[in-house]
């Protein structure tokens, strides 16, 4: 990658308060889909790094396999090993609900990471990014800049259309644009891959000879989107990214591409999930909150990274 920043410092964190003190030993099982995407790769890496920071935590990572049934089997074999907690990023929330409930019934603290189970009782706590909120943040950034221009051409490069999260992002985006009297005029879906982003964008740029703004759901595929834009020699619009990769932040800082901002969907949630699991098992709450237990639901803000604040966010950027 283009930047040698040692960004591990921003991806994990141990509080300075009394919660940092080692307590009862905790074994945490961890399962996330196979990493062939930068964001998922960062999730797994962060979970491992965070667990390594605690002397009282032992991590049992199991590969989730390629689909929901395989992940169910993996969780079942994990249950056999009786960890204290399981941090679970499911292939599909609804499909993994039953097995998560089974783990809870076996007395294991399940922390649901990002993709939500269909039954709240299947997890002790849920920490997730805000897909709808991403769309909202992107919508606000673009809406503010194009306010009052009802004829503005706004394009959207979505991720994998067969996924619920893509629907949520698009809905947040459309809803927010509507409050500015704007709408999406061209929408394409890539597949969260660089070549996918390049291909659909190349076609998109043919479809619309003049564009005012583009929102790209995913900074991984954004590498391809930016390549297509450069190859077409188009400059008349600005672009907003999604997720918050390091590469995207570098471009925002340098201002060398139409990419002006990106809305975050931080993989650091995996680090936080490990911390939550440890606290829950040890029966501790969050330091700054009054309650004796960790909250049931944490939804991360989708923050907007622009040139003015990019330096603060850079440590959180993940390598695509």
């Amino acid at each position: 990658t283009s930047n040698e920043t040692k960004n591990d410092g921003g991806q994990t964190k141990v509080s300075e308060g009394k919660n940092a003190a080692p307590g009862k030993n905790v074994t945490i099982g961890f399962s996330a889909p196979a990493a062939d995407h930068g964001w998922i790769g960062a999730i797994t890496a962060n979970a491992k790094a965070q667990a390594a920071k605690y002397s009282d935590v032992k991590l049992l990572p199991v590969d989730a396999g390629k689909d929901a049934p395989a992940q169910i089997a993996a969780i079942e074999s994990l249950i056999q090993q009786k960890p204290d907690a399981i941090v679970l990023l499911p292939n599909d929330g609804a499909q993994l609900t039953a097995v998560a409930r089974k783990a809870m019934e076996a007395g294991i603290v399940v922390i649901n990471l990002d993709r939500e189970f269909s039954d709240p009782a299947a997890s002790f706590a849920l920490i997730k990014g805000d897909n709808y909120g991403m769309g909202v943040s992107a919508g606000h950034y673009i809406g503010r800049k194009l306010k009052g221009r009802g004829d503005a051409v706004i394009a959207e490069v979505a991720g994998i259309d067969t996924l619920q999260l893509t629907k949520d992002r698009s809905k947040g985006f459309a809803d927010t644009l509507a409050t500015y009297g704007l709408r999406v005029s061209n929408r394409v879906a890539a597949d969260f891959t660089v070549p996918g982003g390049q291909a659909v964008t190349a076609n998109l740029l043919q479809a619309a000879s003049k564009i005012d703004a583009i929102w790209n759901h995913d900074d991984d595929q954004g590498v391809g989107v930016l390549a297509a834009i450069k190859q077409a020699g188009r400059k008349e619009f600005f672009m907003v990214g999604g997720a918050g990769s390091l590469d995207a932040m570098d471009h925002i800082a340098a201002g060398d591409t139409p990419l002006e901002a990106t809305v975050t969907y931080p993989p650091t949630m995996a680090s936080s999930a490990i911390s939550l699991a440890r606290l829950a098992v040890q029966g501790k709450g969050l330091d700054d909150l009054v309650e004796l237990q960790v909250p049931k639901l944490i939804v991360l803000q989708s923050e907007t990274v622009t040139r003015s604040n990019v330096d603060r966010y850079r440590p959180l950027g993940f390598k695509s």
């Binding site: 396999g65 049934p69 089997a73 629907k167």
Partner: protein, 318 residues
């Protein structure tokens, strides 16, 4: 026969690898039993699909739409409207959608004279799109508990879906080896023109073969719905490739006319056992993949080892 023995040897070799790397699981009878039940459970859906694929392939065709048909059937049978008819409605709709789509494949190939690869590729794309449309890309929860019980309830310690798998395999074996339908399948795939001139209605038979494959996808969809308690348009991803690979490893000829149900079964179990070994040994994905490639090559080489005498027959190597 010899070929299947070679395959079983590969399977045993995999278990030995398990015993060496994880003696705590593979050395303890009850844990081994549990583990192998997991292997069988995971093999069920793809295994049922592979039975149908084996028929299609022996009959000289190929069915790329199986994964998509599974997804479509799983989505269809978990729509709210269908679930309101209860367990009968769910089962019927899964089987009907699978068999119906397979029937269309068969018509396109037999009467539309499309190459099977293209016809079923088109069906694959279209069926996934339809599944997406019906489900709105949402995972649909199944509330018919009798279906979900298939995965969670056991009889004599064996999960129901494993039994379903066993029944499908047994029926498949009988159908292929003991019925006129099976005989016709071999004839159509071995030499379509000869079969036709011997008075076999090869077109109708081809239609039936694809419908059978679709039916298997419907059954497999029910298994997946039971396992995941839901239907989703992402189900059955890459099943087409895995089913074809399992069948070929099991000795089915891509060119048709040759293949066995037992071979396909063992092929599926080999893939399932490999995946299980990776998980219990906690190998990272990239290593899994590299090793997987080597194992596949090794398995086929081992299996061919006893076949030196058959090599002279040029047809066999294709």
């Amino acid at each position: 026969m010899k070929r299947t023995l070679g395959l079983v040897a590969v399977l045993v070799a995999l278990l030995v690898v398990g015993a060496v790397t994880r003696p705590d699981i593979f050395g303890d009878t009850s844990k081994l039993w549990q583990n192998e039940l997991t292997v069988l459970t995971l093999a069920s859906a793809i295994g049922i699909v592979t039975v149908g694929m084996t028929f299609v392939m022996i009959g000289g065709g190929i069915d790329l739409s199986v994964g998509a048909l599974l997804a479509l059937a799983s989505v269809w049978c978990t729509t709210v409207a269908t679930q309101s008819y209860g367990v009968g409605g769910v089962i019927f709709s899964a089987l009907a959608v699978g068999a119906g789509a397979g029937f269309v494949n068969g018509l396109l190939i037999s009467y539309g004279r499309l190459v099977p690869f293209i016809a079923t590729l088109a069906m694959m794309v279209a069926a996934r799109g339809l599944a997406q449309k019906i489900s709105g890309s949402r995972t649909q929860i199944n509330h018919v508990s009798l279906i979900n019980d298939l995965a969670s309830e056991k009889i004599l310690g064996v999960p129901y879906i494993v039994l379903v798998f066993a029944v499908v395999v047994a029926l498949g074996w009988v159908l292929l080896n003991r019925t006129t339908f099976g005989r016709r399948t071999v004839a159509v795939g071995g030499n379509a023109e000869a079969a036709r001139l011997a008075g076999i209605n090869t077109r109708r038979h081809t239609v039936l073969l694809y419908a059978l494959s679709g039916l298997c996808c419907g059954i497999a969809a029910l298994v997946v719905v039971a396992q995941t308690t839901s239907g989703s348009n992402t189900n059955g991803d890459l099943y087409e490739l895995n089913a074809i690979a399992a069948a070929i490893i099991g000795g089915t000829a891509l060119a048709g006319g040759r293949g066995t149900i037992v071979g396909s079964l063992v092929g599926v179990l080999i893939f399932s056992q490999i995946a299980n070994l990776f998980t219990v040994n906690n190998l990272p994905t990239e290593t899994q993949r590299i090793v997987n490639g080597a194992i596949i090559v090794g398995a086929v080489l081992i299996q061919q080892f006893r076949l030196a005498d058959l090599r002279r027959r040029p047809k066999l190597s294709t």
